[in-house]
Symmetry: C2
Subunit: 118 residues, 2 copies
DNA sequence: CAATTATATTCCCTTGAAGGAATATTCCTT
DNA sequence: AAGGAATATTCCTTCAAGGGAATATAATTG
């Protein structure tokens, strides 16, 4: 990791929608439609932000039939990991992150698109 | 700290010049002219980035005669602190940060503009 | 193969921010 | 008060990126 790559990581983190996505993916791998549901944002918006995160190697994806499952990248990244921890801490205080997690837990993850249902 | 403020912090961190500035200020408070010297960047550029950091409360400044001394903000900010630590770790590997620190140490800090000479 | 579902991409518009040149401001010295 | 040094601001141009509407692609189902 060099200074430019470090900047790239922060660029990924400096959008609230991406932070919300990462916060959710910190809990579990998720398909696009679930992210869309939980975040209440448009399909394009979610899809573009996921592409952005993927291009910068913060998340990775795997196709499962019709669905794309996204998860936090497995490649070790100390900066990302440290900041995901911070995110987790904040998510017990911040109303936006809290509400997202609440909706996530209320979401039926037994559907065909869910990673654990494979 | 809420999700928007968190984004703001990351926005501050996603420019390499600002990271270089923060890396230097992590060592010691510095005046603009020293930052300019060490970073080898234009006066406008440094000044604008400092203004940006100050507007977002990551640094604070104090006038000393002709000079403005900038330092990392004293207000507690866990996210900033955590990432300054990361920056410090990286600065022993990354060529840009390393070179900056080396030039900083080679800089005469006994001049009138330096905080410790007060 | 046609229709449907899930997701990605393209086109377009708008905005924030980076950087340089020129200028303004602030403070010091004489 | 005038000049000089340090720093800040304004004006301008360029560019990345956010978001929506429409369209394209990929896989599934009938």
């Amino acid at each position: 990791m060099n200074s430019d790559e470090l900047c790239q990581v922060y660029r990924c983190l400096c959008d609230v929608t991406r932070l919300r996505i990462l916060n959710l993916l910190g809990e579990d791998a998720l398909c696009v439609c679930h992210l869309q549901q939980v975040l209440g944002e448009s399909q394009v918006k979610i899809s573009k932000h996921l592409a952005y995160l993927k291009n910068h190697r913060l998340v990775e994806s795997e196709r499962r039939a019709n669905w794309m499952i996204y998860r936090i990248s497995g490649a070790p990244n100390p900066i990302l990991e440290e900041n995901l921890k911070c995110l987790q801490d904040l998510s017990s205080e911040d109303p936006v992150f809290m509400a997202d997690l609440k909706r996530l837990r209320a979401t039926d993850t037994s559907a065909a698109c869910c990673p654990t249902s494979a």
